[in-house]
């Protein structure tokens, strides 16, 4: 028995974890598949878990089309280290590269380019899925399409993803050309996003302390992969500055956090006064937190929950006014939130993104914050939105049912293939998925 948790370190469970070393062994695996445990809540937790991290082999790479085939336990960081020097990057990356490819499919992750590129699942050509009864099925848009759509964003509840094929994108450098904008209010932030839709990457950091006329004060970061010609003469195009890794040494008390995030925000916001673009190395641009190992410990022993919701485009202005006001009204809460424009809904039945805006922020897991999150859920549901399963540890059955109209279709696929009897997690038990 081993104690396992998600990245939020809440909840925690004693589990029997097996670690298959080959595809054949994984295909016979019994229990919930698990990647690097970077989902925040209880999505990767079950009394019996199959640790996929030993399945990290590349199967093939086509340097004409960019199609890569790999085992599902391959870490994104490993893939990037390998392929970036050859001029290839992933079509979609989450805010950490310490995730597995299988976990990226199962959460159908989105990145700062969702408005243009869609989710990771949209780039998956096919995948091999073990159903837990000895069957291994190739799934794609044309083959076992129902299982494919259920598995993209299916949170490990449709079987064990063994192998994934997806298309990588060519890049000329390991740098990003970044533009910073300031938005003094929420309305300005929305306007800036809508005007920046032709940028590949965009994201905003919101100061949740700001209230009243400053509500939604944010720094907006836009980005494009830098072209070779944009680098200073003589620069090595794929050089990545050595990353000095810092580790959070001890569990920090909660009050440190408020000050940390406010300082970080002020740095961002006031730096955005300087006009013009700058070149930023790819690592701090996409995965700023990866340089701080075990940063989840800054929340102390109690752990934390991350809240992430998405609201439809037409409801975003009204909905986020209410959400930010509710957060700002929590006097002692001083948080930094991330806001992002999302493009259309993809093919995954439980895929999170929908056309609109998504907001993500962390809260220490205490009673007061959990009550606040219930209020945020109500606002989200009222505005036709949903919350992200990969980050959830506490939402209600009703909130999830309201947000995911294809949930019955998903349950139906699970039942049809007998998956509901073989794959479950604390998340699926809690939310009746």
């Amino acid at each position: 028995m081993t104690a396992i948790t998600g990245w939020g370190r809440y909840p925690r469970i004693e589990a029997e974890v097996t670690r298959p070393a080959s595809i054949e062994a994984a295909a016979r695996g019994e229990g919930l598949p698990r990647g690097n445990g970077r989902s925040y809540g209880d999505a990767s937790l079950a009394p019996r878990a199959v640790d996929m991290m030993g399945l990290d082999r590349l199967v093939s790479f086509d340097d004409q089309t960019g199609l890569i085939v790999c085992e599902a336990g391959l870490m994104l960081s490993d893939l990037i280290d390998l392929m970036l020097p050859r001029g290839w990057f992933v079509p979609v990356t989450p805010g950490t590269k310490l995730v597995t490819i299988g976990g990226m499919v199962a959460s159908d992750v989105h990145g700062k380019n969702h408005h243009g590129a869609g989710t990771f699942g949209e780039h998956v050509a096919w995948l091999d899925l073990a159903l837990g009864d000895g069957r291994v099925l190739r799934c794609s848009r044309d083959e076992n399409a129902d299982l494919f759509a259920a598995t993209i964003g299916g949170m490990g509840l449709t079987g064990i993803i063994l192998t994934v094929a997806f298309a990588m994108i060519p890049v000329e450098t390991a740098m990003v050309r970044q533009r910073r904008l300031r938005a003094p209010t929420l309305v300005h932030a929305f306007a800036a996003f809508e005007e920046s839709l032709d940028w590949t990457y965009s994201v905003a950091w919101i100061d949740c302390l700001a209230s009243g006329k400053d509500l939604g004060r944010s720094a907006i970061l836009l980005g494009e992969h830098a072209l070779a010609q944009e680098l200073p003469a003589g620069a090595e195009p794929f050089a990545r500055p050595a990353k000095g890794k810092k580790r959070v040494p001890i569990d920090m008390p909660g009050f440190v956090l408020g000050r940390l995030s406010v300082t970080a925000f002020n740095k961002l916001y006031y730096a955005a006064q300087r006009p013009g673009d700058m070149l930023v190395p790819i690592d701090p641009y996409f995965w700023p937190l990866d340089a701080i190992l075990e940063w989840n410990r800054i929340y102390g022993r109690g752990g934390f929950v991350q809240y992430q919701c998405v609201l439809p485009i037409e409801a975003s202005a009204a909905g986020y006014q209410q959400i930010l006001a509710a957060i700002a009204a929590e006097g002692d809460a001083s948080f930094l939130a991330v806001l992002k424009r999302m493009g259309p809904q993809g093919l995954g039945m439980l895929s999170f993104p929908m056309e609109g805006y998504t907001l993500a922020l962390d809260f220490p897991a205490n009673a007061r914050n959990l009550a606040l999150l219930d209020r945020l859920d109500a606002i989200t549901v009222d505005h036709g939105g949903r919350i992200y399963l990969a980050k959830d540890a506490r939402a209600s059955v009703a909130t999830i049912a309201a947000g995911y109209p294809r949930l019955d279709e998903f349950r139906d696929v699970r039942r049809r293939y007998g998956l509901d009897a073989r794959f479950s997690s604390l998340l699926s038990e809690r939310l009746h998925l």
């Binding site: 670690r19 070393a21 030993g54 082999r57 590349l58 199967v59 093939s60 790479f61 390998l82």
Partner: protein
């Protein structure tokens, strides 16, 4: 300098896989030798390195080591012996066949294969033989002395081979990894400060290989720990439950 090809004997182990990737990343030509199906790892290495790694069948207890090296079709530059078997002490103590298997897999087989490697590598430039032994070989303990004594034999063998080959310029390195989180130790409670990951072990071995070190521990902390364990008087040691 790393002399190619690098032959990894026991390439399906977690340490063997990490070594293969590490050597391939250094541009070495790698030959994977294992008793099971190793095609998935060979292909992985090929995609990663763009090189042309080979896979060959290998059983360390087959008693035909010269034929194995003759069958490679190329003279090894580096040979790394990774194969080993922890076995189950209680079973080894009660079942002669099991004891024989643990001894053959950790001492007799590896020693015979590495002798054959030295013969095959005779005169090769920059040649290096690496044996993965164990701290378990430094002092026999009740809980794993069949495995430990076979590793002790391997450690003594490597030391002798190093001595014998020094003049001929064939380098021999002994590796004592300490605890490593692998298939072999899956499910055991290992103390984190003394436990290394396979990648860490591979990196330490390749670094030490390039520096031509003779004997290495992967985590430096093992040196004082083993010094203490060796220093405990036998009268006391025999009464401890270790």
């Amino acid at each position: 300098m790393i002399a190619s090809p690098v032959v990894i004997l026991g390439a399906r182990s977690d340490i063997g896989r990490a070594l293969a990737r590490g050597y391939a990343a250094k541009g070495a030509h790698v030959i994977l030798a294992a008793r099971g199906d190793i095609e998935a790892d060979r292909r992985d290495l090929e995609v990663r390195s763009g090189g042309q790694p080979k896979a060959v069948a290998f059983d360390v207890t087959d008693g035909a080591p010269d034929a194995f090296f003759a069958g490679l079709g190329e003279t090894p530059g580096t040979v790394v012996m990774v194969a080993g078997l922890l076995g189950d002490q209680d079973r080894s103590a009660s079942d002669d066949a099991e004891a024989a298997r643990v001894m053959a897999t950790n001492y007799e087989g590896p020693a015979r294969y590495l002798l054959a490697a030295a013969r095959a590598m005779n005169g090769v430039e920059g040649g290096c033989i690496i044996g993965i032994s164990s701290v378990a070989g430094e002092r026999g303990r009740g809980s794993n002395y069949i495995y430990g004594s076979a590793k002790a034999g391997l450690t003594a063998f490597l030391s002798g081979l190093r001595n014998a080959q020094a003049k001929a310029g064939l380098h021999v390195m002994t590796v004592k990894p300490g605890f490593v989180a692998t298939q072999m130790t899956a499910g055991m409670k290992l103390p984190p400060p003394l436990t290394a990951q396979p990648d860490e072990v591979a990196k330490a071995i390749i670094d030490a290989h390039e520096k031509r070190r003779d004997v290495i521990y992967v985590k430096a902390r093992w040196r004082p720990v083993m010094a203490i364990i060796r220093a405990i008087p036998e009268g006391v040691f025999k009464k401890l439950s270790l």
